[in-house]
Symmetry: C2
Subunit: 208 residues, 2 copies
């Protein structure tokens, strides 16, 4: 069992904890804005309020920071889907999921863009995580939705493309914010409008 920390085993002092958190926060800011290659250790250092060598005291390198960040956020990212309840009302569960994803776009746009960047580049540092983290969850929920459709509780369609369309439409507002904001300038209620629109949209596809 190797550790990411420079200290061999889990010896996390208060300073250790505080600075590692600072670095991860700074890295989220910088990586999500510039992508992996576009981000520099100097930028992360400045954002974190630490010197570059000091950052390398806490992490083994640029890539280690990025991987740690991705790992840390993976659970948060999958959480809304994991919360989809097999025992709940099918329509409520899926619309609820869509709304939770929308909240993610609204509250965590940096996290959204971080993942978007990584996937766009072909997921070079996240391939394994897609297989081991996302895929099983995806398949579980696809099967769940399929069973709801088979039971006639939802209109039949391809559950995989349904999930893709939820991801696409909700993440769009975070990932393509630069474009959305140009095209909706002056509208203070873009997110509420989007939520209302998507609610109607998915309700119409899903209602039996």
């Amino acid at each position: 069992m190797t550790s990411y920390s420079p200290v061999p085993e889990k010896k996390h002092s208060r300073i250790q904890l505080r600075n590692r958190k600072r670095i991860i926060d700074a890295a989220l800011e910088v990586f999500s804005q510039h992508g992996y290659r576009g981000a520099t250790l100097d930028q992360i250092a400045e954002q974190a309020g630490l010197s570059k060598p000091n950052i390398l005291y806490y992490f083994d390198g640029k890539e280690a920071i990025h991987v740690t960040l991705l790992n840390k956020l993976m659970e948060t990212w999958l959480d809304p889907l994991a919360k989809m309840d097999p025992d709940g009302d099918p329509l409520d569960e899926i619309l609820g999921y869509m709304h939770r994803k929308m909240q993610m776009s609204r509250k965590f746009p940096r996290e959204s863009r971080l993942f978007a960047n990584e996937i766009l580049q072909g997921a070079p540092r996240m391939g394994p995580h897609l297989e081991s983290g996302l895929k099983p969850l995806f398949e579980e929920k696809v099967a769940l939705i399929q069973s709801w459709m088979d039971d006639g509780k939802l209109a039949a369609s391809d559950p995989r493309h349904l999930i893709f369309s939820i991801w696409a439409t909700t993440q769009h507002y975070a990932d393509f914010e630069a474009q959305v904001s140009v095209l909706t300038k002056g509208d203070k209620a873009v997110f509420p409008g989007a939520e209302a629109y998507l609610d109607t949209l998915f309700r119409k596809v899903l209602e039996p």
Copy 2:
């Protein structure tokens, strides 16, 4: 009037034309895969089969290549939307638009990722184009769709979010291909399935 070309005015020899095209093609490949900062002139040079200084003989620099590329592709990118016909059948026109966008994702995924990269980073080299190229067209079509809705030819909803959702869902298959392919491994008919699903989806929102 300044020109991008090293030759002051429009003196485009055969070699000039051929090599500029090679460079643009190579740049599309490299920029779409690695993003602006991630791409290097050496990569573009190798892909183009030319030396780096030779590339700089044809273009003023990395940024000039990127800007030229973006400009060249802008029209192609907006074309499907521009083709939406005010005199056509509303439902056919919008679904037709969606299908044309889907074709773009299928046939020009690199172009899609190029734009996605640029927007994700906040459109630093495309801001003006969004304002001058995309925005007027967007607003024209929003007004058109709104008038169709006002006339009762389509179910009422927010035309802006409708267009966003078409962009999001169709481009998803190109931009997040790395993720889609992991989750649909073995399925040879992802695109046809997506098209059928999206056809149903938008038909249900749009039908009055």
